[in-house]
């Protein structure tokens, strides 16, 4: 039996994840009806929102990658500069911020009274209104997802060894050939899976579509589910719509992933951050590079800067300290966020421990796919159905108020696992492939291998994935608003409650505090712990 020990962590983690999902589905499965699904599909209005859901997700996903790719290819040359590393850390902010805050940030920059409109007012005397409609939805999705795509692509580019670069340059390959032969193969798999993830995120992107869509014309399936559940009290309809959504999302995501090739691991000698020896004395290239980087910053940082400036106008740092309600929310935010974040990274590592051996040693693709799928399953499930399902399943057994913290931690952990796996994945597999023979030779096995050797080597990815899981969980508003209570209040909930009571100054304080908190965590993780020796 000892031979199969390596299967345990992965299967255990998978099992835990599937248990939570099953508990949720259990609550709502009795409401499913095939007949109803057929009926709903035939409804004209539903057909139009299905079409729009798919359309906007595909375009958002495509645009995000389109922007992230040149950005990554350019930035990789300048990774040695501290400033660039700091900008990359700050880029995460748009990915992990609560959606409502991100939307406000975008409106502060792109809105009718936003910065860009003010500039236009100054220059041509007219305000600009372009944000409410499909444009806004796309801009918002790009804002939220480009940093994630950027980091994933950079991570893959990082795996190309210096030697290959030198050989390529010596052979005078031009830029396009460099991309086709060197860079694309390295990033191909990762970019496709990342696209699938971004597609799923946009597919269920409720708040963005509702606020920036401009009206019922632009609606997605998730909105219809919300309405059926909350307003019509029609669980049957909600479940039918949910099933339609799950099926569509899975089919399309799998379609995108089907373009990946088998896992291919190149044996590498060095693991350090590569700095390609491309001499850029060419001013044209330098200008182009700077332009691209500025565009990137404008996409994911400028809205946040606009938001911070506008918050500072309404409030200041001194009132932050005096506000006890705010500090109470800070406490819960930290507790719940850290718990789910750490749990998420733990489960991801467990999944990867099994996955790496399946892929490297035994090349059993189907089991590896199943295990990785269990980690990513959460992406295609409608969040609101998931939460309602858990509520319905558990309410007869437990007092919801008492188990609320655990449910919040559980669901948030589940939601961040796909990202932890992505961030840790390629690093872990690469390190394993390089050192596995060495460890075997020295008879270092099992848990001690993982804890003493592999994990310290992955320090920087673990730091990043911890930071992202923790901050993503901290930014959750959906689960906490369903299961939170008067006592358990996190910062996003505090902000939303303030907004709901005219208290714009309190909301601004909450936003500032949340941004300070998340930025600090990311910085500490990436700039301090993430430093490679």
């Amino acid at each position: 039996m000892r031979k199969y020990n390596w299967l345990i962590p992965g299967l255990l983690a998978s099992f835990l994840i599937l248990v939570i999902i099953t508990v949720s589905l259990f609550g709502i499965i009795k409401y499913s009806s095939f007949k109803l699904i057929l009926e709903i599909i035939n409804d004209r209005y539903i057909q139009s929102i299905i079409y729009f859901t798919i359309y906007q997700s595909l375009i958002s996903c495509f645009l995000s990658i389109l922007i992230a790719l040149p950005l990554a290819l350019t930035i990789q040359k300048y990774l040695k500069y501290r400033l660039v590393k700091i900008v990359l850390s700050l880029a995460w902010l748009s990915f992990i911020s609560p959606v409502i805050i991100g939307v406000f940030a975008i409106i502060k920059l792109h809105g009718i009274s936003g910065w860009i409109s003010d500039v236009s007012l100054f220059v041509i005397g007219e305000k600009l209104e372009y944000i409410y409609g499909l444009n806004g939805i796309l801009i918002a999705h790009i804002f939220f997802n480009v940093p994630f795509a950027l980091r994933m692509i950079l991570g893959s580019l990082n795996t190309i060894p210096n030697e290959l670069w030198r050989v390529a340059i010596q052979n005078n390959l031009n830029r396009w050939q460099l991309f086709k032969i060197l860079e694309w193969p390295a990033i191909r798999n990762n970019i496709l899976i990342t696209s699938a993830i971004i597609f799923c995120l946009c597919f269920t992107s409720f708040v963005v579509v509702l606020i920036l869509g401009g009206g019922p014309k632009y609606s997605i399936i998730e909105v219809a589910i919300y309405y059926a559940l909350k307003i019509e009290f029609n669980i049957d309809r909600a479940v039918a719509l949910g099933i339609i959504q799950i099926v569509l999302a899975s089919v399309l995501a799998l379609l995108i992933i089907s373009f990946t090739k088998n896992y291919r691991i190149e044996p590498y000698i060095k693991i350090n951050l590569k700095i390609p020896n491309i001499q850029s004395n060419n001013y044209k290239i330098l200008t182009y590079d700077i332009f691209i980087i500025l565009v990137g910053i404008a996409v994911f940082l400028l809205p946040i800067i606009a938001l911070i400036v506008s918050c500072l106008k309404v409030s200041n740092f001194y009132s932050l300290i005096g506000n006890t309600g705010l500090l109470n929310s800070l406490y819960w935010t930290i507790i719940l966020g850290f718990s789910s974040g750490i749990l998420s990274v733990l489960l991801s590592i467990m999944l990867l421990m099994t996955l790496k051996i399946l892929i490297l040693k035994y090349k059993i693709k189907w089991l590896a796919v199943m295990i990785e799928l269990s980690g990513n399953l959460i992406l295609i499930l409608p969040p609101i159905l998931l939460a309602t399902g858990i509520f319905l399943s558990l309410r007869n057994i437990f007092n919801i108020q008492q188990i609320a913290p655990y449910v919040i931690i559980g669901i948030n952990c589940l939601t961040t696992i796909p990202f932890s796996i992505r961030i840790l994945g390629s690093d872990y597999i690469r390190i394993s492939s390089i050192y596995s023979r060495l460890f075997d030779a020295y008879n270092i096995r099992g848990i001690s291998r993982v804890l003493k050797y592999e994990i310290p080597m992955m320090r920087s990815s673990i730091a990043t994935s911890l930071a992202i899981s923790i901050t993503l969980s901290m930014g959750d508003l959906g689960v906490i608003s369903l299961f939170g209570s008067t006592d358990i209040r996190t910062l996003p909930l505090y902000i939303y409650q303030s907004l709901g009571s005219y208290r714009m100054d309190n909301a601004a304080e909450g936003i500032l505090l949340l941004l300070i908190l998340t930025t600090s965590i990311i910085f500490i993780a990436e700039q301090i712990f993430g430093e490679k020796k």
């Binding site: 209005y45 009718i112 909350k230 009290f233 007092n399 005219y502």
Partner: protein, 329 residues
């Protein structure tokens, strides 16, 4: 020996005291229980009066309160619900989960138009469009005015997910009846965006994204009281303004019937009602309540509009579909 008896007595007495600390569970909505809302103050006052433990549970909004009760059914922990919207009364009544209150509600400010044996009203307000008087010098004076204007942009809420949104839908329905779809089509040209809830809409309005936002006639009072800012005003429409009444009710399956009754009586007592204007920013239902000075600056509504809950219940889905299609073109 004496010490032994003393400790025994103390223990017995404290057990008695903890027994008399019965707990009343009230489902209400978020902003009610926020630290700046009426919740904390009301809780303090009521607990002193009843010598019991009041637990206010804040759900996301008024609609969620009814949803939660409906999902929990007979097993609900709630004794009282506080904050149901008057537009949902028929649906709430149909659940058959609420019990009759035995409270006299004939002497309230709204008694000439509201009477119910199950639901106790505790505050009310009127919907109206709020504008910034420094930016909009000539606000529309009627709905027709608004529809004819060329340069007014508005932000409204989604009637499917928010009570003000539903209020606007019913308001237009009440004034224009069967012509409502044309009205919405015309209004659609002026709409900047439709937000899921009141908070986003109001926040965007304050940020300057639109000239007017759908809110309550009492909204300006907040800015006057807390910010000494007089520029936000409510637009007075001659056709009348739609009214929203918030109610409380007792659950049939409550184990704490007497305390629930006490609470319902408390919520329309002067002590409680005095707190509401500057925490809820709605009008108190009793005539003797104190209103802050800022309320003097608000527009007065002489002709409140309201559609009967039964009619709303029967036509809700159809009206929403009408709304969806008018704005989808």
């Amino acid at each position: 020996m004496k010490l032994y008896i003393k400790t025994l007595l103390i223990i017995l007495v404290s057990i008695n005291i903890s027994h008399s600390n019965e707990k009343l569970t009230v489902y209400t909505y978020d902003s009610f229980v926020a630290e700046w809302g009426p919740g904390p103050l009301l809780e303090e006052k009521f607990e002193k009066e009843c010598n019991c433990d009041l637990e206010l549970i804040g759900l996301s909004d008024g609609v969620e309160i009814l949803t939660r009760i409906m999902y929990e059914g007979k097993n609900t922990n709630a004794d009282v619900v506080l904050g149901l919207d008057s537009n949902l009364l028929q649906r709430a009544r149909d659940t058959n989960l609420f019990n009759q209150h035995n409270i006299d509600i004939t002497n309230l400010a709204i008694s000439n138009r509201f009477d119910d044996d199950i639901f106790v009203p505790f505050d009310y307000g009127y919907f109206s469009f709020i504008y910034d008087s420094t930016k909009t010098s000539e606000p529309p004076k009627s709905f027709d005015d608004l529809l004819q204007s060329n340069n007014i942009r508005i932000i409204i809420q989604d009637p499917r997910t928010s009570t003000p949104g539903l209020g606007l839908l019913l308001w237009i329905k009440d004034i224009y009846g069967s012509k409502a779809t044309e009205v919405w089509a015309k209004l659609g040209e002026k709409i900047v965006t439709v937000t899921p809830g009141w908070s986003e809409a109001y926040g965007l309005f304050l940020d300057g994204e639109a000239d007017m936002v759908l809110s309550y006639t009492t909204s300006p009072a907040y800015h006057i009281t807390y910010e000494n800012d007089y520029r936000y005003k409510a637009a007075h429409f001659i056709e009348g303004h739609y009214e929203q009444i918030e109610v409380a009710a007792k659950l049939k399956n409550t184990q704490n019937d007497k305390i629930a009754d006490k609470f319902l009586k408390f919520i329309i007592s002067k002590e409680a009602q005095d707190i509401l204007p500057t925490t809820q920013w709605m009008y108190p239902v009793i005539l003797e309540a104190d209103l802050p000075e800022s309320y003097d600056h608000l527009i007065k509504i002489e002709n409140p509009l309201r559609i009967e809950p039964e009619e709303i219940f029967l036509n809700n889905e159809q009206w929403i579909r009408e709304w969806e299609s008018s704005l989808s073109n």
